[in-house]
Symmetry: C2
Subunit: 346 residues, 2 copies
Amino acid sequence: MMRPLTLASFLVVIGTLASPARSQSDLMKQAQGLFKPLPAQPPALPDNPASPAKVALGKMLYFDPRLSESHAISCNSCHMIGMGGVDLQETSLGHRWQHGGRNAPTVYNAVFDVAQFWDGRAKDLEQQAGGPLVNPVEMDTTTGHVVEQLKGIPGYAAVFAKAFPGTDPITFENVRRAIAVFEATLMTPNAPFDRYLRGDEQALDGRQKQGLALFIGKGCAACHSGINAGGQRYAPFGVVERPGADILPPGDKGRFAVTKTVSDEYVFRVPSLRNVALTPPYFHSGKVWDLRQAVAIMGNSQLGARLTDAEVDQISAFLGTLTGDQPRVTLPSLPPSVATTPRPKP
Amino acid sequence: MMRPLTLASFLVVIGTLASPARSQSDLMKQAQGLFKPLPAQPPALPDNPASPAKVALGKMLYFDPRLSESHAISCNSCHMIGMGGVDLQETSLGHRWQHGGRNAPTVYNAVFDVAQFWDGRAKDLEQQAGGPLVNPVEMDTTTGHVVEQLKGIPGYAAVFAKAFPGTDPITFENVRRAIAVFEATLMTPNAPFDRYLRGDEQALDGRQKQGLALFIGKGCAACHSGINAGGQRYAPFGVVERPGADILPPGDKGRFAVTKTVSDEYVFRVPSLRNVALTPPYFHSGKVWDLRQAVAIMGNSQLGARLTDAEVDQISAFLGTLTGDQPRVTLPSLPPSVATTPRPKP
């Protein structure tokens, strides 16, 4: 069971990081010890091997709004490819214009996160993919209706059969599996910071390197490390100082809802910072639209550090180097509805 | 001024068509006289020359939901690329889950229609593109706010400058122009019927040719002709027999709202039948989901012909040959919102 970071363990980690890098080369070595570049290929998913046919089906399902009760909302509605993998909304708009409870996390590189959703209630992409489908404020369908709907679109039969050889391939589990393998392909490699981690000193300019040194030295990297610069563990929002109710609404106790453990109150999965410059607004509440302000709030709440404007600028400049090559996705041709296809219920 | 078809003029046209084709070759000649294959390249738009930069900008705008007040609705929400260029809804869902007044026409091949919207109130794609943006039940923004929004997204400045060299390129007019040149590229060439029109006898099978012969002989081609098998003129819904209020709601008088001419009551632009098998539900009211039923209704209401089931089947089989190669569109990378970008008002 992964424990959230406590203030005590936190200060130990910071202590090991805080010795300033003596040269550019030292800084690179420090960074290489804390972060990893994105690989060129998506990782294999446990018990869900990818195949071109499965990825192709997953892409179709990802874009098909007929998976929602209204036929107006698809995975891509809130996790938009071409727009940072997010919807740029405080909280997403779902079925009948209802608002979701938390800001939509990006789908990009999500395969590298330790768990899915802000509270980690889904252990992987496959488990996550089923959630919004049946959530009444999101796509508002049922597992049974998803299967009925897809069986009612004749063109899907052959696509499922190719992706899942065997009998009765159109199942809710296979819908989740196919979406997961497609989502795993949505990576953003070759960010300037990836090139730096691979040894290219020129990939970051002076200010970005100052920001990286601060990011490490101030302790940000205690949580935001690894392949995704985050996404690997849980932490209370407000390790040192709890932010105001505008940013941390008291009604949302985060991971506590999953574990029912008091120490998990206001604990959230640390978000990945990859492409963070593309994904405002910030935090689970989506209340902060300015990346610089988000950095300053993190300094206060998580590190007890009142960052100067110059430091905030430098750290923000470093965060900009986490923007990688955006996925290039060609829209799939979806199989047509026919007279007997179940109809939308908007 | 284009006049709607009257019953009298209609019967004349049918008379010229009704002599049955004596052989396959005669049928092909008849068809070649009535229809034209889609060209390989989009036509030039008057006063709006296409350029790669303008098409690229238009594609970005087409997919960018930040053009709507809520930042949740884009052109693609109702005219989905990959799904026949439509939304498969009776009427579209717009701002705050409001329903539009009529079924969303396909964007595919719309450049070849004589005018846009079911009532032809926009003379071309450029005029059409501005409509949904400012419609309170669709995207609910204003011309001024569109400009303010786009100027507030720094990455658009260079893209507009490249597409529209000169001073102050970010204008509402240029937004419409860029969207129009992108939409003009959304064509579906090489349908089996296109290949047939180019002389390939094998492109249609026997039943499809019987359907084509009926389509011509019964008089459907009197309105549904030309490059788009429709889209070229206006006609009353109910030339011979007015359909029921479920399909032709009395409150929507069609083109009358544009021309205020009594003879334009319940007159609509004849829709293109290209890709019609992909674009249920049918008619401006979107009340008919079954293509066969739509064919039967047209027989009654427009031709006074009670088509047999076999005839309906054959005509529907012919209509299936109007499905062409679907556009392959790679999603654009949209420029990010920044701290000063105007925010959504959901």
